[in-house]
């Protein structure tokens, strides 16, 4: 009874505090002549957004709500690119860190300690202003990495172009169904093995089926997708896509910074695999690389994944430091410029917070499904 009363009082205090914060905010906004409403969504935004690869932007036409979408998409773009690259790099560095090779292990130790211990904002500014802006050549002398070109304006990449969006969507659906088909095929083959002892080369059959099927469907649908390669014109590249330098710098710094943390997770994961496992793998004659791939990594993953999920969330949130280099993600174009222009602090900040909450919850939801799958089953 006593604890119920205490909890009731606490609940009342919290509700009262929230209500008074809300009222104060509304009052202050009205003092400044700002009536909180969403009507500004449809008014035209009087400023320029340079990078909007997914939505068309036109100065004098694009509305505030479209600016929000552009910002959201740009944030998601850099987060996805960063997560992919940081994962690959982080695993490579983390595996090197656990290697018995002195040089590899010490190199990754130094890498981790340098990039983990420097403030991210400083790193973003360092790479962007001190390295890329200062040293990258003009487009004509671009650094060439296969079909990628890096110069002072950014990174030039090939661009997939959807020729026929209808057929392209059909193609995606058929791919989806071929994976579902493979899933049922594998279940059937497993059941059959345990009943009759007959086996099939399940993995290669599935792979051949998916490749053949998607290729066939691709041509049957008239090749709905083409890849456009960047070609150097007189002054700049034509074709392909350009990741402008601010995006490139931000992506690069986020990748380096986060990979240092992921590398530590990977090292800890590998260290968590007991010595007995390694001895067992050796005693049955597995080679070093087989042991790493089939015994150590699968077991290390269950230790690596939970903290790595939070690194993914950190990377997404850290992308808001893009303001330092002028990449137009959601905090920059929405919570900063749009807010200054309209004064609609309550709605704009709330939307930004909700966006990041949704992003984080979605990421951890998806990865937790995967995480639950790879955890060990015990009795």
């Amino acid at each position: 009874m006593r604890s119920a009363i205490i909890q009731g009082v606490l609940l009342f205090i919290v509700c009262y505090a929230l209500l008074s914060i809300y009222q104060t905010t509304i009052f202050n906004l009205e003092e400044r002549g700002i009536k909180t409403s969403t009507s500004f969504f449809d008014s035209v935004a009087p400023f320029k957004v340079g990078f909007s690869p997914f939505l068309d932007y036109e100065l004098g036409k694009t509305t505030y709500i479209e600016i929000f979408y552009i910002g959201v998409l740009n944030t998601i773009l850099v987060a996805v690119l960063g997560i992919v690259a940081a994962t690959i790099l982080g695993f490579a560095i983390g595996i090197m860190r656990s290697s018995s090779n002195w040089l590899a292990s010490k190199f990754s130790l130094v890498y981790v300690e340098i990039f983990r211990n420097m403030p991210l904002l400083l790193q973003i500014m360092f790479w962007n202003f001190a390295i890329f802006l200062a040293f990258l050549p003009p487009p004509k002398q671009s650094l060439e990495f296969g079909v990628f070109y890096l110069n002072g304006r950014g990174l030039q990449t090939p661009l997939p172009i959807i020729e026929n969006s209808n057929n392209f969507n059909i193609w995606l659906v058929t791919i989806f169904f071929s994976f579902i088909g493979v899933y049922f095929f594998r279940r059937w083959a497993k059941k059959r093995f345990f009943e009759t002892g007959k086996t099939l080369p399940v993995f290669s059959l599935s792979l051949v089926f998916i490749i053949l099927f998607t290729t066939l469907m691709f041509y049957a649908l008239g090749g709905p997708l083409t890849i456009e390669l960047p070609v150097l014109g007189k002054f700049n590249f034509k074709g392909g896509a350009q990741l402008p330098l601010p995006l490139f710098s931000l992506w690069f710094s986020l990748t380096i910074y986060t990979s240092a943390f992921i590398a530590e997770n990977v090292r800890a994961g590998i260290a968590s695999v007991s010595k007995g496992q390694i001895e067992a793998a050796r005693s049955i004659g597995l080679s070093r690389s087989q042991m790493v791939r089939m015994v150590i990594i699968p077991q290390a993953l269950r230790v690596i994944i939970p903290p790595t999920i939070s690194q993914y969330l950190n990377l997404t949130k850290n992308s808001s430091l893009a303001m330092a280099v002028g990449y137009e993600e959601v905090v920059a174009v929405w919570a900063n410029i749009s807010l200054n222009q309209t004064g609609q602090a309550l709605i704009i900040i709330a939307m930004t917070i909700i966006f990041f909450e949704c992003c984080s919850l979605f990421t951890s939801f998806v990865l937790n499904i995967y995480n639950r799958r790879i955890q060990l089953s015990e009795r």
Binding site: F193, F194, G197, K198, T199, P201, S274, G276, Q277, E279, A280, A281, R282, S283, I284, G285, L286, S287, Q290, M294, V295, P298, Q299, R302, I374, L376, S377, E378, R379
Partner: protein
């Protein structure tokens, strides 16, 4: 190559020959001048107080421990830093550990087929068949689709034996295979090992199970402080031990 080595290599019935083996952990002299040769189908039980070097000795045979002096020749292949030799010997020598060391992320069947598929390059089909056969031999074919964490200790150890056998090894090493088991599970593992012994496998077993030693061993080796103190057939070993150290050890483990 010394005369001794040349002789043992020509001798068809010898499968493992160890001569003048020395191993140190830092300053600690763990194995002192060990000489041991094992014949095909021979069953050897090694016993001795803890810290006497018995586990270290058998772990040297498949290079889980690196020796500093002396030579180990397994089935005509000399164990040295050559990775090819090491892998060749490891795939001919199976090992069963005190703590089973099954791969917890793989099913029982996958535990058994991992090495045959990747080391012996057998087809999955063939490997699965052989694994099921061996799982039947150790009497747990119905657990093939379960994970090690879902089995009892005794079942896990029998899976570990099947996993080692799947490589069709010529020698089996057992490193205290029953020491981590509950008493009622020791019997099922020992029975499996006795059946294996009867099938003609060459076995080197480090154990404190003197009943098993008496029943199965062709030769019992008693080690203390990194040396082989005594080796004899079970009859002589238990009834007329030569050294006082052996007598003391036997009185300590048998009289209670």
């Amino acid at each position: 190559m010394t005369n001794n080595q040349a002789e043992t290599m020509n001798d068809d019935s010898t499968i493992i020959s160890i001569s003048k083996l020395n191993k140190w952990y830092g300053n600690f002299h763990a194995l002192k001048d060990i000489d041991l040769s094992v014949n095909k189908t021979e069953k050897i039980v090694i016993c001795g107080p803890s810290g006497s070097g018995k586990s270290t000795l058998i772990r040297c045979i498949n290079r889980l421990e690196v020796h500093q002096e002396g030579s180990i020749i397994v089935d005509g292949v000399e164990l040295n830093d050559d990775v090819k030799h090491i892998n060749e010997i490891r795939s001919e020598v199976g090992m069963v550990f005190q703590h089973f060391n099954l791969f917890p992320h793989l099913t029982v069947l996958e535990n058994c087929t991992l090495a045959p598929i990747w080391v012996r390059k057998k087809s999955r089909n063939e490997a699965n068949h052989m694994a099921m056969e061996l799982l039947e031999k150790v009497r747990i074919p119905d657990q093939a689709d379960k994970y090690p964490g879902q089995l009892s200790g005794g079942q896990q150890q029998r899976v570990a034996i099947a996993r080692a056998l799947c490589m069709q090894p010529r020698v089996m090493l057992f490193d205290e295979p029953t020491s981590a088991l509950d008493p009622e599970m020791i019997k099922e593992v020992l029975e499996t090992m006795i059946e294996l012994a009867e099938s003609g496998m060459t076995m080197i077993v480090v154990t404190h199970e003197m009943g098993f030693a008496n029943k199965v061993a062709d030769r019992i080796i008693f080690m203390d402080e990194g040396q082989i103190v005594e080796q004899n057939d079970p009859e002589t070993f238990f009834n007329n031990p030569e050294s006082d150290r052996t007598k003391l050890f036997l009185s300590q483990i048998l009289d209670h």
